[in-house]
């Protein structure tokens, strides 16, 4: 299996911080465009939608870490926490812009939307489910919760499915861009259900099996 050159360990930490900077850059960029009139004639909606789409992209990236390691031998598990947290930040920003710039803190309207509009109910539920994941994303929680941490963080599959559904229901018709995002999420979720058979099959085929999943990766995951 072709592999990309490994990043020297001493750069690992810096690369994670670089990921936070790069990952949040689109939010900063769109905010700047909004301030300077670069988001067209309905800038609030555009900003809100871009934040939502970037949230989905980072959820996709978070889910892609495991198959990347399983199938391509690329171990980027060290970036998964940052990707997941960036996704959470985008979801939180997406909701904040909807409440503040879009609905102007009309909490009656926000509550009405959450109660009455299924796609907003689903989106809001995803935001709520992301909170415990973000709160327990530190090493202390991983140690403290042990197996419970793994079970808790399986919520991301439900959140990913909910996010995709929220997107489908929000657009007037599913065109190419929504389709690509939804298809990627569907693919990544389907992979989870087929992971065991795929891994067993691969182990059976490559007899002197190079352990793709290292002990260290298992601990981090």
């Amino acid at each position: 299996m072709a592999s990309i050159p490994a990043l020297p360990r001493r750069y690992h930490k810096a690369s994670v911080w670089a990921l936070y900077v790069i990952g949040l850059a689109p939010a900063v960029w769109y905010f700047y465009l909004g301030l300077t009139g670069g988001l067209g004639f309905n800038p609030v909606k555009e900003f809100e939608h871009q934040l939502g789409i970037w949230a989905l992209r980072f959820i996709i990236a978070t889910l892609a870490i495991t198959p990347l390691r399983d199938l391509a031998g690329i171990n980027w598990v060290r970036y998964r926490r940052a990707l997941g947290l960036i996704a959470f930040y985008y979801v939180a920003l997406h909701f904040s812009v909807y409440v503040s710039l879009d609905l102007r803190f009309n909490f009656g309207a926000v509550g009405g939307d959450i109660a009455k509009r299924p796609y907003i109910t689903i989106g809001f539920a995803c935001l709520l489910m992301l909170i415990p994941l973000a709160v327990t994303s530190n090493n202390w929680s991983i140690r403290k919760l042990a197996q419970g941490w793994n079970r808790l963080h399986r919520l991301i599959y439900l959140i990913a499915a909910g996010g995709a559904l929220h997107y489908v229901l929000a657009v007037k018709s599913v065109t190419l861009v929504p389709f690509i995002h939804i298809a990627l999420i569907a693919l990544l979720l389907v992979y989870r259900s087929l992971r065991r058979p795929i891994l067993n099959w691969r182990r059976g085929n490559n007899k002197p099996a190079k352990p793709v999943v290292s002990q260290r990766a298992r601990q981090n995951g």
């Binding site: 004639f41 309905n42 909606k45 710039l101 299924p118």
Partner: protein, 314 residues
């Protein structure tokens, strides 16, 4: 974007002598010639003169740039800036509109003839079903003017409309993932179509209609959500039964045949109580304003719906 390509004009289209001898005819022909030029690039619409009318509003006009670059016209793509970006190859001339169905005198109207109708400037509110609105100075004439010419039969109860299908000029109509089936179709009850507020527009802001706004001729029904105001019309048919309409076919629970602007009836996915006026407020000051029943035209049109349950007939 594509380079400028001068449109090929066959000899048959060069204005005959008997037309250009009359000033009024000349003005119409000039507008069409301008459209031929405008067809190469949406930025070049031709000047179009019209009589002033009583249809004015004391609300601020939406800036022309917003009116011509923030559009829903799925034939050119689903994003708001797609119609302005992707309609450069669309040729709104030559053009004709076929009016047929249950009429005494079916007729195909050439664009030249339509541009010679008694054109008026009318400033209307435009409320999109998505919750945003504009104020647009249209140029056009009452739809009833051409309905009268074809003499609808007594059995005609509805009017159906059809947009042009030209995948080679309308990128949204080709490839995978087309958002809607084509042609785009719309409809009105005959009494709605005959209402003096319902117009066929051939221009806005003192110019011929830009491609993103439905060149060369579109419907404007200001008391209904924007998607009822079908663009780039090639056919108008008088029919007996309520015609199918594109968005109702796509999602009948969300988009009804009537689609009158109604702040009291929510879209299943969002409230219709308020609207965002495009081009006002910017990023932080964007203030939603209350949506008015029938988009503020209740005095004129509410009587069309006496006895009709507007919640059930959304």
């Amino acid at each position: 974007m594509s380079a400028y390509r001068p449109p090929h004009i066959p000899a048959s289209e060069i204005t005959p002598r008997d037309i250009y001898m009359s000033r009024r005819n000349f003005m119409g022909a000039a507008a069409v010639a301008g459209l031929a030029f405008a067809g190469a690039d949406t930025a070049f619409a031709a000047p179009l003169t019209a009589n002033p009318s009583a249809y004015k509003l004391d609300e601020k006009l939406t800036p022309k740039e917003a009116v011509t670059t923030y559009n829903n016209f799925y034939e050119f793509g689903v994003n708001k800036d797609d119609p302005a970006a992707n309609s450069g190859d669309f040729k709104p001339t030559p053009w004709s509109v076929k009016v047929d169905g249950m009429v005494g005198k079916p007729k195909e109207f050439g664009l030249e003839e339509l541009m010679k109708m008694n054109l008026e400037e009318r400033t209307y509110r435009m409320r999109c079903v998505e919750g945003w609105s504009m104020v647009i100075p249209w140029i056009g004439f009452p739809l009833s003017a051409i309905l009268d010419q074809v003499e609808p039969l007594g059995s005609a109860k509805y009017v159906s409309f059809e947009t042009v299908v030209r995948p080679e000029e309308m990128p949204g109509q080709k490839g995978f993932f087309q958002p809607l089936p084509w042609p785009y179709i719309e409809g009105l009850r005959l009494d709605e179509a005959r209402h003096p507020l319902a117009i066929l527009a051939v221009g806005l802001y003192g110019e011929t209609l830009p491609n993103p706004n439905g060149a060369p001729i579109r419907l404007v029904v200001p008391w209904k959500y924007g998607f009822k105001s079908i663009k780039s019309i090639v056919r108008i048919s008088l029919v007996e039964k309520q015609p199918e309409t594109t968005w109702k076919n796509a999602n009948a629970r969300e988009y009804g045949f009537y689609s009158n602007v109604n702040p009291a009836v929510d879209h299943p996915r969002w409230s219709q109580a308020t609207e965002q006026r495009i081009g006002e407020g910017g990023f932080f000051g964007a203030n939603r304003r209350p949506t008015l029943p029938f988009n503020g035209y209740a005095d004129q049109v509410a009587s069309l719906y006496d006895g009709l349950d507007l919640k059930a007939n959304y």
